[in-house]
Amino acid sequence: DAGVTQSPTHLIKTRGQHVTLRCSPISGHKSVSWYQQVLGQGPQFIFQYYEKEERGRGNFPDRFSARQFPNYSSELNVNALLLGDSALYLCASSLIRVPGELFFGEGSRLTVL
C-alpha cells in the first residue's frame, strides 16, 4: 500500500508569494494533519482535518489555511510568505480510532527568499 504522499518535495518562493502544498493520505485514513518543522526543532501542529472538517488548529496566523477534499486528500495554503515560513511541512494521516498513531509523509521543503 502507498504511504502518505506529498507534493512538491522541494520549492523555492520569494517573500509575499503564495504557496500550495498537497497531501494524499494512506488509503482508508480519513484524518489528515499538517505540521511545520523548522530546522533544528520538533514538528509543530498546524491543522487537523477529519471528514472534510477542521478539527484542530495550532497557533499559526490566518495566512495559513487548509482544506480536505471528498477523497480525503488535503491542501495547505500559505499566503504572503515570510522568511520565517521556511521549513519542512509534514503531512500525516491517521485512523481516528487510534489516537496519535500518525503516518507521516516525507514532507515538502519550502525555502522563502
Partner: protein
C-alpha cells in the same frame, strides 16, 4: 497546555553500547505518549506508543520505553545500538478530544553512532 522536554540535544554512543534518551512531559490528564524517529531528509516513523496498561512498552527496531507517572517521564532505551540507529528522535504527547487529534513534540535528540 501540554509540553514535552527532551533535555539532550545531541547524544553520541558507540555501536553496541546501550542507549537511553530522556523525555519529560507536562499534561493534566493521562497522556498518550509516543516516540518517533526521523532520518535525514525523511518524514517521521513511529517507534512505539503508550496509551495505558503496562508501563514498559516495546517498539520496532528493538526499542523500548518506560512510562513513569511519578516522574512525568517516558524515556526511550535500546540495549545495543546499531549504526543504522543514527537519526533524530522525537518524543511526543498526544491530545484527543472527540475526533480532534494533536501531537505536541519535543525539540528532538540527535543520535550519533560511532563505529
Amino acid at each position: 497546555a501540554q509540553s514535552v522536554t527532551q533535555p539532550d540535544i545531541h547524544i553520541t554512543v558507540s555501536e553496541g553500547a546501550s542507549l537511553e534518551l530522556r523525555c519529560n512531559y507536562s499534561y493534566g490528564a493521562t497522556p498518550y505518549l509516543f516516540w518517533y524517529v526521523q532520518s535525514p531528509g525523511q518524514g517521521l516513523q513511529l517507534l512505539l506508543k503508550y496509551f495505558s496498561g503496562d508501563t514498559l512498552v516495546q517498539g520496532i527496531k528493538g526499542f523500548e520505553a518506560e512510562f513513569k507517572r511519578s516522574q512525568s517521564s517516558f524515556n526511550l532505551r535500546k540495549p545495543s545500538v546499531h549504526w543504522s540507529d543514527a537519526a533524530e528522535y522525537f518524543c511526543a504527547v498526544g491530545v484527543s478530544s472527540g475526533s480532534a487529534r494533536q501531537l505536541t513534540f519535543g525539540s528532538g535528540t540527535q543520535l550519533t553512532v560511532l563505529p
